[in-house]
Symmetry: C2
Subunit: 206 residues, 2 copies
Amino acid sequence: MTKRETPDIIIGRLPVYLRALRHMEAQGKGTTSSQELGEQVGISAAQIRKDLSQFGEFGKQGTGYSIAFLIGKLREILKVDRVWDVVVVGMGDMGHAIARYQGFADRGFRISQVFDSDPAKIGERIGSFVVQDTRELGTAIRKADVRIAMLCVPAAAAQQVANQLVEAGVRAILNYAPINLNVPKGVWVQYLDPTVGLQRMTYYLE
Amino acid sequence: MTKRETPDIIIGRLPVYLRALRHMEAQGKGTTSSQELGEQVGISAAQIRKDLSQFGEFGKQGTGYSIAFLIGKLREILKVDRVWDVVVVGMGDMGHAIARYQGFADRGFRISQVFDSDPAKIGERIGSFVVQDTRELGTAIRKADVRIAMLCVPAAAAQQVANQLVEAGVRAILNYAPINLNVPKGVWVQYLDPTVGLQRMTYYLE
DNA sequence: TAGATTGTTAATCGATTAACAATC
DNA sequence: TAGATTGTTAATCGATTAACAATC
């Protein structure tokens, strides 16, 4: 009798619930219902209740969910009730934009170091960071014990840099390069190729 | 007896197949198999064959698929055998990076106009574009008959700009703002919130 | 109390996989 | 021909929905 594992597909929805709940909280709301949250995120009320019930009983019959309480629970479940250090590799336009992005801070992440392999960029200041040489990646990541990286290098370099990251102990990669990465078991990758996003919509356009 | 509609989940995988196939083509390969493609993208061979069989018989027993031929078919299916004009709204760091990104050209998209509401930015050159006033959005989009937009404005402005876009005839929105958009039926949205990507992985980290 | 909404069960629906005849 | 690989069917597996007793 093994403990039933929570499906990836449920985990994938939780950050979206969390984002919507924090939005409600910022608007001064105190409670919500599976119905209301579902409308907000485009998911059925039944499914939201089912998803949450995987982790405990967070609501009250008749009144719904305390937003603050549910936010706390989701942050715990997703392990973003702490701050994760993240490194960014590749200081082209995209890496540059990410290094200066202010949206990670209150959602569980903090960029701690940024890297590039271009001698012209190494040593340069970007946001509050000094660009380090990609060759120092392994040492720097091991020393700081970082588990998460954002990959913003050109497609041609992405797999090789990913290998270095994994070798250095990184276990989660947010990949902006338009290419599939092959990584060993125990390493997670999320893809953010804008063209894939666009191509998922054109099928439905006339 | 209605024609069975192709599930969204299959459509969602096709751009990933297409990207992998073009990568193989760039490496000079002429044919591939469902087995090989599956390993490349992390999907079972059976599923790839099943997905493709929705649209026709593209392979040959014994030899597999012609890469060039399959690329052509997928481009047709996804309607990226043409070039779609895309507008970008919001010329912060992210919009800026996108406006200068060279990766759309050969994958079916062309940025045609960029917008911002900041008087300091309007009229400025970014990449090969002159930043236009967001107030002109509706007129400009209608005139150019654009169907696709990338949304790079702050979260607080995103819903309102999305409304303007839809009103002007946009039917597909690639949303970089960390917020859920409510859009009418017949309008598609894809989300690219990096924090959601990160939060989908932390659950699995110790 | 009456009304609202949860958590959960059972039923339904849909997606994935395994297997193999067909055939290049 | 022998080997490889497709397209497809049937079986399995998993996810979603509907419905409702429990209860705030």
